[in-house]
């Protein structure tokens, strides 16, 4: 499907990206910045300093109602039962007949109020799915079009934000609270997608520019989707459309720990059957022998040139100065330390299966 540029949506920061001379690309139905000064520069800032991502394209919903009565508990895979207020949890939303609709983060605002954060591409499907499966007494509200979002990420992000949000230090990993920022009471969570210490700030759509400009003035560097992908691949985080797909299995993608087997949820029967039959493929992380980077959809071969799988995400990793990636291969071939191969003829090259994460020196939990 090709979407013409005019059909693509713009975040409240679109003009800012243009004036910063960002390279703009279509992503999930939006016109998004791919890079500003260059991916390597942005990478260094993200791993050493503090960067800003415009993530206003993502979807946000509020649900009011208690866990069981609302129907929320059966829509998502993660355990929400004993989840404290002001914490976040990552999980998935499955189709009843198998396959993943989206991955998402649930925020517990009150005992009986929740915020759900979803990807931009599948957002409209997500809305339909919630509306179909929530119980009539639950109140569902899609606030995506009023909610801008800026991710502040990097080892310096806490010290950097203290100036604007003095109490930011109290937030633990995967916790959130309401803070007054530029006169607005907004949700800020200690979450992210980079493997570094970082925060996500949910902000009124029409004031997001003001926050962006303030953060830039204070010295954070803008970073685009290009480096966002590099950072998440190095940490082995899955991306919707790559490791998580409508026809894919969360078990093969190694997401078992985000599934609460003790509760009922949509899609559970399919997973139980899959579990019983045993998974055929598994997600691996690999590092190339050189600077050559495998790309999504490259075939993965064994030493005897048998096709054993496919790359789901690949990139050059500035940290190692080598190609790295994720891919699905036959389960029995996926042992750490095994070699896998890509390409043909003079383009043939090797990689080694490694432990996740490839990059483990991040400031995430510091």
């Amino acid at each position: 499907m090709t979407v013409s540029d005019s059909a693509l949506k713009q975040t409240p920061l679109y003009k800012e990206h243009e004036s910063l001379k960002a390279k703009i690309v279509p992503f999930g139905g939006w016109q998004m910045p791919l890079q500003y000064e260059g991916i390597i520069k942005e990478y260094t800032f993200a791993r050493q300093e503090v960067v800003l991502f415009d993530t206003s394209h993502m979807g946000e919903f509020f649900i009011e109602g208690d866990l069981k009565g609302s129907g929320l508990d059966k829509i998502v895979t993660q355990s929400l039962k004993n989840m404290p207020v002001k914490t976040c949890r990552y999980g998935l939303m499955l189709k009843e007949e198998g396959g993943v609709i989206d991955d998402l983060i649930v925020y517990r605002i009150r005992n009986d109020k929740w915020m759900i954060v979803v990807n931009a591409g599948p957002k409209d499907n997500d809305v339909k799915h919630f509306q179909k499966h929530l119980n009539p007494e639950a109140k569902f509200c899609d606030v995506s079009s009023q909610t801008g979002k800026i991710d502040v990420q990097g080892p310096r992000s806490r010290d950097f934000l203290v100036d604007i949000i003095p109490d930011i230090r109290k937030l633990d990993y995967y916790a959130f609270d309401t803070f007054n920022v530029l006169g607005e009471d907004v949700i800020v969570s200690r979450t992210g997608y980079t493997g570094e210490l970082g925060y996500e700030i949910y902000f009124p759509w029409n004031k997001t520019v003001e926050l962006w400009q303030l953060l830039l003035t204070k010295g954070a560097q803008p970073a685009g989707l290009g480096v966002r992908d590099v950072l998440r691949i190095e940490v082995g985080y899955p991306l919707y459309g790559h490791e998580i797909t409508e026809s894919g299995s969360p078990l093969q993608a190694g997401l078992k720990k985000f599934i609460d087997w003790e509760k009922d949820f949509l899609g559970k029967q399919v997973l139980l059957r899959e579990q019983e039959d045993g998974i055929k493929k598994k997600l691996i992380n690999f590092v190339s022998e050189n600077r050559r980077s495998p790309r999504a959809h490259y075939k993965i071969y064994s030493a005897d040139k048998t096709e054993i799988g496919k790359v789901s995400s690949g990139t050059f990793a500035p940290y190692l100065k080598k190609g790295v990636g994720l891919g699905f291969i036959d389960k029995e071939r996926g042992k750490i330390g095994n070699q896998v191969f890509f390409g043909e003829g003079r383009d043939f090259f090797a990689a080694e299966i490694v432990k996740r994460p490839i990059y483990d020196a991040g400031s995430l939990k510091k």
């Binding site: 390279k23 390597i40 290009g226 050059f316």
Partner: protein
């Protein structure tokens, strides 16, 4: 976007600078900018012979991979090892230090299939 007057260009964004029967080949400013930070360059071996528009080299950036095609037929007489050791040199200086190979050209007539600077500039402007 920088385009050098004395060079000729292909539709795939290679440049060639012909002096007598020897030519230098590289990728254009448009190409290096579109690729972004270049991370890997694979060049042919000296002595290799290529037809016009045959695949000559591979270049990868952080997020993309592309083939480089030979702008004119000929034999490779020198390769730039500096762009293998430091691929970002192509980003920094694609027309001078970031050259890829030198070619002994076999068929000077093939120039007629290439674009001059003005033509190439128009071509690029119509792409975006």
């Amino acid at each position: 976007m920088e385009v050098l007057d004395s060079y000729l260009y292909t539709h795939e964004h290679e440049w060639i600078h012909v002096e007598d029967n020897v030519a230098t080949v590289g990728i254009s400013d448009y190409a290096q900018n579109a690729l972004g930070d270049i991370t890997f360059t694979e060049l042919p071996e000296v002595g290799g012979e290529f037809e016009q528009f045959e695949q000559l080299a591979s270049i990868e950036s952080v997020k993309a991979a592309t083939d480089v095609y030979c702008p004119m037929s000929g034999k490779v007489i020198e390769v730039n090892s500096e762009v293998v050791d430091d691929p970002e040199l192509i980003n920094r200086d694609c027309y001078e230090k970031g050259w890829l190979i030198k070619l002994e050209i076999a068929a000077p007539d093939e120039k007629s299939k290439l674009m001059k600077a003005v033509e190439y500039t128009n071509y690029c402007e119509n792409l975006s």
